[in-house]
Amino acid sequence: MGRREDLLKIFPLRLRGILQAAVRDYEKLQEIRMRVQAPVLLIYDNREYFLGKSGRMERNQNDSYLVSREEMCETLEYVGGYSLYAFEEEMKQGFITIAGGHRVGIAGKVILDGGTVKSMKNISCINIRLSHQKKGCADGVLGYLLAGRTIYHTLIISPPGCGKTTLLRDIIRQLSDGNEGRAGLQVGVVDERSEIGACYLGIPQNDLGIRTDILDCCPKAEGIMMLIRSMAPDVIAVDEIGLSEDIAAIRYCIGCGCKLIATVHGGSMEEVRSKPFLGELVRQKIFERYIVLGDRHGRGTVEQICDERGSSLYVGR
C-alpha cells in the first residue's frame, strides 16, 4: 500500500474523497488537524490551509469542511484498525503510529487511575503528522563519527523540533547498511516512543537499515540491557536520554564494549553539561563526539561538532 493509501484509509468515506481531491503532492503535506465542529486544517509546504467542502485547499474558512462527532469516532476506529484496545499504551502517551509511520496525536477527556493516565475518552482533536524520512541528511556528519571499523560514542544535542530524531534515524540507517568501503554494523535501537522506527504491528515503517534490530515501545534502560543480552549489537541507538536509570544503562552498555548514539534536548554543550545525571557523563568524557543542531538555516542545521573535551571539530556558519 502506498503512502497516500496508508493515510487516506483512516478517514471516513466523505472526508476521504474530499482529501483525495484537495491534496496533490503528499510529499508536501505535513499535518492534518481535525477538531469536532471545527474546520479541517492542512499544513502543506509550511503553510496552513483550510480543507474546503469542494475538495480544495482554501486560505479562508468560509467554505471549509466541518468535522462531525461521528466522523471523529469513525476516524478513530480506523486509526486503531478497529482495535483501539490494542493501542491502550500508546493512547496513554497521546499518540498512535499508523501504517506508513504517520503519527496520530489525540486529545480528549483523560481518564485517571490513582493519579496516572489510564486512558482517554470523548476524543475531540486529532492531529496527523506525516512521516518524512530524510535519507542522506547524515552524510555531512557521518565522517566525524567513524573510528576505524567502528564509531565513537556520540550524543546529538538539539532543541525540540530541530531534527535530532531525523538525523539519528539516518545515522542508524547508514551505519547499518554500510557501503562499499565500510562494512555495515549490527545496530540495536530502543525506540521508547516509536519515533525512530515508527513501528506498525512490530515492523519499522522507516528504513533503519538491513542490520538493525528494534525494540518498540520499550523503556530505554530495560531495552538497552535486553538488546545487549539478546542481540549482541555493535552499536545501540536511543532517543532522548536523561533519566537516572538511562544513565546507569548507558554505563552498562559502554562497559560491555557497545558503541552508543543518543540524543538529548538542549541548545549547547554547556547546557547539557549542567544537566543533573547526563552532565556527569559529559564531565567524565564518556561521549567522544557531540553534534549540536539548530534551526538557523532551517531544521537540522548542524551548528557544531565537538570531541570529548568540547573542542570544535566543525562549526557551522
Binding site: G81, Y82, S83, L84, Y85, A86, M91
Partner: protein, 174 residues
Amino acid sequence: MWAGKVLGALMVFVSCLAIGWYTAERIRMRTQELRELERALLLLKGDIRYAKTALPEAIGKLARYHEGSFTEFFRSVSEAMLEYSGISLTEIWRGQARELLKKTSLNAGDRELVAGLGDVLGVTDAMLQQNTLDLAIVRIREEIEAASEKEKEKVYLCRALGVLGGLFLTILLL
C-alpha cells in the same frame, strides 16, 4: 394403479422421515456449533488479553486455524476489516452475521447474540472487551447446557415424529 399408489405412499413416508431426521440433525448440530463458538470466543479473548492482537488479525487467525461452521464468517469479517472501505465494525460484523450465520444451525436468538458482539468489539478498554466476551461465553454455556439436557429427547422425538407422521400420512392417503 396400485403400484402408483404404493410408490406415492413410499415417497410421502421417506419425505416425512427425512424431515424428522433433518430436524433432529439440526438440533444435534446446534449444540456442537455452540461449543465451537464458545471455543472461538475463548481464543479471541486470550488473544486480546495476553497479546493485545488487533481484531482483523485475531479474527483472521480464528478463520485460518479452526476449520468449522464459523470459518467463513470469521474470514469474511477479517477480510472486510482489512479492506478499510469506510464501513464501521458494527456494520461489517452485523452484515456478515446476517448473511453467513443463516447457513449454520444456530437459532435466531443465538445469531443475535453473535451479531450483538459487533456493537462492542474494538473499543478502547481491553478490560471491557474481555468482560463483553466473558458475558457472551457465559450465555453460550447456558444455551449449551439447556440444549444438551433436552438434546437426546428432542432428537428422539423428531425422528419418531418423522416415522409416525410418515406412517400416518401414508395410511391416510392409501
